[in-house]
Subunit: 334 residues, 2 copies
């Protein structure tokens, strides 16, 4: 409310009551089966000569004001509301006013499984033309390569050239995410996934179900945080735990076959590791995670050490599990 | 790198090679068992007269420059690195230079289970004194009430006054999070938790294991996304599914007793709902989630309808499950 008052006074305007906004605010409360509190009337106050941008996700409208060539926008701070108002209201205004002739086009290659420095070496003599911008976007554990500009043909040419060099490490393009790519492959091949997690504590399965339609490709799984759960539900052998420990490729492989058999899935993933910050040893440091994979009758395991705090280690480990499975599925026919 | 060059030119400085930063960069690569790429030498370039702030989490140092009373800081953009450099390097500089006499003190009450407007009504005649600032911080599904200022005694007094009014809805204070509060209660009461999730897809268990030491309070659980998994692993009756559907309190209650029996836990939570955007009906709209709770031999269920997109519905549902359990445990002796 203070922001709105300041905006009004900056432009030398009074705040006036806007009937349409008030109706929209009341609608939102009605949908929640709540009477609209009187205090919310202030949300219907809009600086004179401003246009209120309809907020379908919340009660505070966006604001738009123009003086000649200049446009001024103000949005509510809640990210989901701000994004919605921008896309549905502000973007069309901007496109109409300033045109979209020189639209910026961008193409992205997502890579994984190669260190940033090794990728840099692979592309050391790669030089895009002047009309194509090249951005190097390192994410934790992977690198995105982005080309953008206004010359669509030139971008496509450079994009293909770069792709042919990094193909081995590419897992997706543009808006692809690990989960969207995995869903696409599983759906196409009609394969069902299950997951057994220890250190990632449910995060792999949370990621897999981030997208609608997950039930077409995902059956479910087990979070076997305690060793007793690994033994009782996943049928990990007590002997394996005592001989190799819970954080071992041996355990990861028994977890993955355990969850596959329990759920009758075609494909399975398992994770077991040390997310930290405590619990590391010289032999098994914090960040060490063992992964098990099962695709039909092919079982394998990988160990990887991640850097970062607990949250980052878990995020990277979950993504690593999905990306490794994706790279395998992309390289094999069924 | 462009930012650093611009900073240097803004202050009219040259970039000079800093031996200490270079050593730190090499150390980071050595810890990853990688040779330091030559390209990283640019990270050791620091504007003349600037002090490089050691970055123990990455390769790009922070920058500090002062002219008289003015201080200028620049940090790497990676949040975990920025935060680390600020806390270990920048904060001590600021405290030393500008003093900490008028330290701002803040106290927060976290509430849950009461609509924002109802809470506002409850506090309508509550007026903190002028030297205590009062912030109303709505989070999705809950509201935080914050008091801050420099007069510790006045803050404490208002804080207690407010707490006595909202006590019924308060679940924590200050830096408490739902997970930290839940861990604290379970650890104190020596109780073990298990979880059965459908629509939240692993998120409840991910949250529970966000904190180190989760294995003291959490055994594990099941993500029963497909109905067959609910029946096979959690022993939900096929009849329950056909009669009431998977999204029903009946199913939630069978899921929660199922996971409790499977894991032998003292306490269990279950979730089953429609995360959307598809799959809603007039009777069971998108955002509707049924929860089951089991504490010793007490079993109960709740249905709640959440607003927002898939991600927000799932986040709110997972937090709702934890906060409901917390409120129950806070109100009961064992």
């Amino acid at each position: 409310d203070i922001t709105k008052q300041e905006i009004a006074s900056f432009f030398g305007k009074k705040l006036v009551f806007n009937e349409e906004v008030w109706e929209q605010v009341q609608k939102i409360f009605a949908a929640r089966n709540m009477p609209t509190p009187e205090i919310n009337r202030s949300q219907a106050m809009v600086p004179e000569d401003f246009i209120a941008l309809k907020n379908e996700r919340g009660t505070a409208p966006g604001l738009f004001y123009e003086e000649g060539e200049k446009s001024f926008f103000a949005f509510a701070g809640v990210p989901v509301e701000m994004k919605h108002i921008f896309l549905t209201q502000a973007k069309p205004i901007l496109e109409k006013k300033y045109g979209t002739q020189d639209k910026v086009i961008q193409r992205t290659i997502h890579t994984f499984g190669i260190a940033e420095s090794a990728l840099a070496e692979l592309l050391s003599d790669f030089q895009p033309p002047e009309n194509v911008n090249f951005a190097w976007l390192p994410q934790p554990g992977r690198v995105d390569l982005r080309f953008y500009g206004t010359d669509a043909q030139a971008i496509e040419k450079v994009f293909n050239e770069c792709y042919s060099r990094v193909q081995t490490y590419a897992w997706g393009f543009d808006d692809d995410t690990p989960v969207s790519v995995l869903h696409h492959i599983l759906r196409e091949k009609k394969l069902y996934l299950s997951v057994a997690e220890s250190c990632t504590g449910g995060l792999v399965q949370k990621m897999v179900t981030d997208l609608a339609g997950s039930s077409d490709v995902f059956l479910g799984g087990v979070v076997s945080y305690a060793n007793e759960i690994k033994v009782k539900i996943l049928k990990v052998k007590a002997e394996t735990l005592s001989k190799y420990g819970a954080v071992s490729e041996e355990c990861a492989r028994e977890m993955v076959t355990g969850v596959r058999d329990l759920t009758d899935s075609d494909i399975a993933i398992s994770t077991t590791g040390i997310a930290g910050p405590e619990g590391g040893t010289a032999e098994k440091p914090v960040g060490m995670v063992c992964f098990g994979f099962s695709v039909h009758n092919n079982i394998w395991s990988i160990t990887h050490i991640f850097n970062g705090d607990r949250e980052i280690i878990r995020q990277q480990a979950a993504e690593f599990a999905l990306l490794n499975l994706i790279k395998y599925l992309q390289g094999h026919k069924f």
